[in-house]
């Protein structure tokens, strides 16, 4: 059944998000979410001079366009891809597949080779966009897809009936079905299959990128972020307005997005994704005409 550590997001008729009032987050494991906030928050504080929390929140809300988290949760996770540094090596995909014992077709984070309108080739990785208005969640007939109060869209594979309507609804093709029995998973002691640790995958149910939801509370980087040799991927928090990549670069999220003309992919669908891209074609790698 649903992991009761998460407050489930319910949908009212006019599509506003309401959060159960029981959202006092319990600690999980030896390191609490609070500790992780401490970690990322301290780092953030060093780069952020003297800005009030309220102002930061206002800025981050602005950065999201229409979004407003409207919750009292400690974190609102976000991801940034700095495409100026991406050479399309797919190390993120491999790190993810290895960690979650996925088949080679299950590219939870998938690297697409794209063509810009100026004719340049660039690479764009697509994880789950963790939309604030996730179409996959709205169409799920049994509420197996849900959104946590920290903005993570997860799948309860113990509840999924395998109707695949979510795959039809996702504009980013970010969902992957287990069409046959999944390969045996590498066991990690003490880890039990759950929406945030969906390993091993369950046959005939749908799976997708979870931003390594099991790692975030421990202050660890998701597998793709940690596995990117170029430091392209930043995991961030809209609440503390900070983000970090595998090279240890910490940025003030709102400034980083604004100063680099960040955009969100396929915004026209109104899903309000929590993933931003900084446009580029690998030029920081002296890869200007970049068709690798």
């Amino acid at each position: 059944m649903l992991n009761n550590e998460y407050t489930r997001v319910k949908i009212s008729s006019h599509r506003q998000r309401q959060v159960d009032s029981t959202s006092d987050l319990p600690a999980r494991g030896p390191l609490s979410r609070r500790a992780f906030l401490g970690g990322i928050g301290t780092l953030g504080a060093t780069t952020i001079a003297a800005t009030s929390v309220i102002e930061l929140f206002a800025q981050s809300a602005q950065a999201q366009g229409t979004a407003s988290t409207g919750t009292s949760s400690l974190h609102q996770w976000a991801m940034v891809f700095d495409l100026r540094n991406c050479d399309g090596c797919k190390a993120c995909t491999m790190a993810c597949q290895q960690r979650h014992s996925l088949t080679s077709e299950q590219t939870w984070i998938k690297v697409y080779t794209m063509q810009s309108s100026a004719g340049q080739t660039y690479h764009m990785a697509r994880p789950c966009m963790m939309c604030e208005d996730p179409p996959c969640m709205y169409v799920c007939p049994v509420g197996a897809t849900f959104r946590t109060d920290e903005g993570l869209v997860l799948v309860d594979q113990e509840a999924c009936i395998g109707c695949r309507t979510c795959m039809a609804a996702c504009p980013y093709e970010a969902r992957y079905f287990n069409w046959t029995t999944p390969p045996p998973a590498t066991k990690i002691p003490g880890m039990k299959q759950s929406p945030e640790w969906p390993v091993p995958q369950i046959k005939d149910t749908v799976g997708k990128c979870v931003w390594c939801a099991d790692r975030l509370p421990h202050g660890e980087l998701p597998a793709c972020v940690a596995g990117c040799p170029m430091g392209v991927i930043y995991i961030g928090d809209l609440t503390t307005d900070a983000a970090i990549n595998s090279a240890g670069n910490v940025v003030k999220l709102s400034d980083f997005l604004r100063n680099n003309d960040a955009y969100r992919f396929q915004e026209e669908y109104g899903t309000n994704p929590r993933v931003w891209y900084i446009p580029g074609h690998g030029q920081d790698l002296n890869n200007d005409s970049a068709s690798s």
Partner: protein, 491 residues
Amino acid sequence: MTTTTSNIAPIAHLRKAAMRPVFEPGKRYWLAVCILAAIVAWGIVAWIIQVHRGLGSAGYNNHAFWAIYIANVVTFVGVSYGGAVVSAILRLTGATWRAPLTRIAEATAVVTVLIGASFIFPHLGRPERFLELIYRPNLSSPIFWDFIAISTYAFASIVFFYLPLLPDLSVGHEQLVDKGRNRLARIYSKMSWKWNGNTRQRKLLNGSIGLIAILIIPLAVSVHSVLSWAFSLTSRPWWHESIWAPYFVVAALYSGIALVILIVALFRKIYHLEDYINERHFVRLGLILVPFGATYLYLTVADFLPGSYVGEHGVVSVFAAVIIGRYALWFWLFVFGGCILPVLIMALPWTRRIGTILIGAALVDASLWLKRIIMVVGPANYGRVSGLFGSYHFTWISISVTLAGVAAIPLLLLLVFRVVPILSITEMEEIVDHETKLLEEKLQSLKDFNHSDQISLGDPSRKIGIREIVHASSSAQLATSTSLEIQAEEI
């Protein structure tokens, strides 16, 4: 139990013919049941293997996450509409020629909607969790509303099948008692709810049938619309079209009436109902097909033109694949074989023969299934980030399960008519009685007119015994009342 109606004359040969499949279905009945049951059993075995191996064994993949089974749901629930229409709309408009067809049409509606609903199970990866739709539903999901709509419609079509059956069960009860079939007779007696055909009962029943005939029309419209919204409430190119709801409704009517033609022809042949169902019935059903076929063709043009003209990337990619690309062969096969050719067959007087009408109806049903496959697989195949198409292939499992659904239609109908009268006895008797009375009145007024105006009546033997004339031609000639009227006027 007494006779069905106190003041309506029973037609003995009609009562016999309607109950013949119950008493003596013939040797070939068992052969047909065995063959069809074997096909269905094989499909169920294939489905069990599919559950064991995973949905991938039915050809599904991440670029064809929806395919044959959901197309089957749409097709089978769609054809169910034909039965509802033939019965409900023709009943409401007072088309008396419908009477020999209604029982078969209504039974077809029930059987096909149940088979269509069952195709949801092979469609689901986890059919054993199906009940979650009841105990933990998400009301914002179109799939949940599909479930509600299909169950409501299935229930309504069962009621619509059952209500007109009430008086016939009472008629059948007598025959069953005569032939010593006591167990079935007891069921008939229970199911007919103490029907004795008095005026109050008949008024109540006709009122209920009229009400449900009205209700089932918007209900069926809503079912096919909700079914289409499972697709068009996603942002996928081609699925996300406002035309899909009317598209589905018209397709349902079109393919449904075509199926009624096929099923009526089948049972007319095997149970020798030629005396009651003749070429005229097929021609009329065929003529009903014409506007629906033409409308569907028109909707297809209206669907493709705006998207193709404007050039939005995703929409154009999918449309190009359908019209000139990878699905073009199947699409144009549908356009010519499923719309143009059948409409021509039904519309041109010299091709309006039972044989050709049957070919046309079969073409309609086969190619509308094909169209549904294109409609489901095309947009699913299209990768919305990459702009590339995936592929989908049938496997022996998906084909076996689908054929089981096709075989289940005649199988279930054979079984239904093994226990239920195949013709709506009471309805036909009432209509014959009513038309006889009308003719008698006309004749009487004609006589009065002639007497007053001193005009010769011609051969006096023709004006008497009009009841005998009607009875001789009987229910088989329900549609011939016009010719009788002409005869009467000649007198």
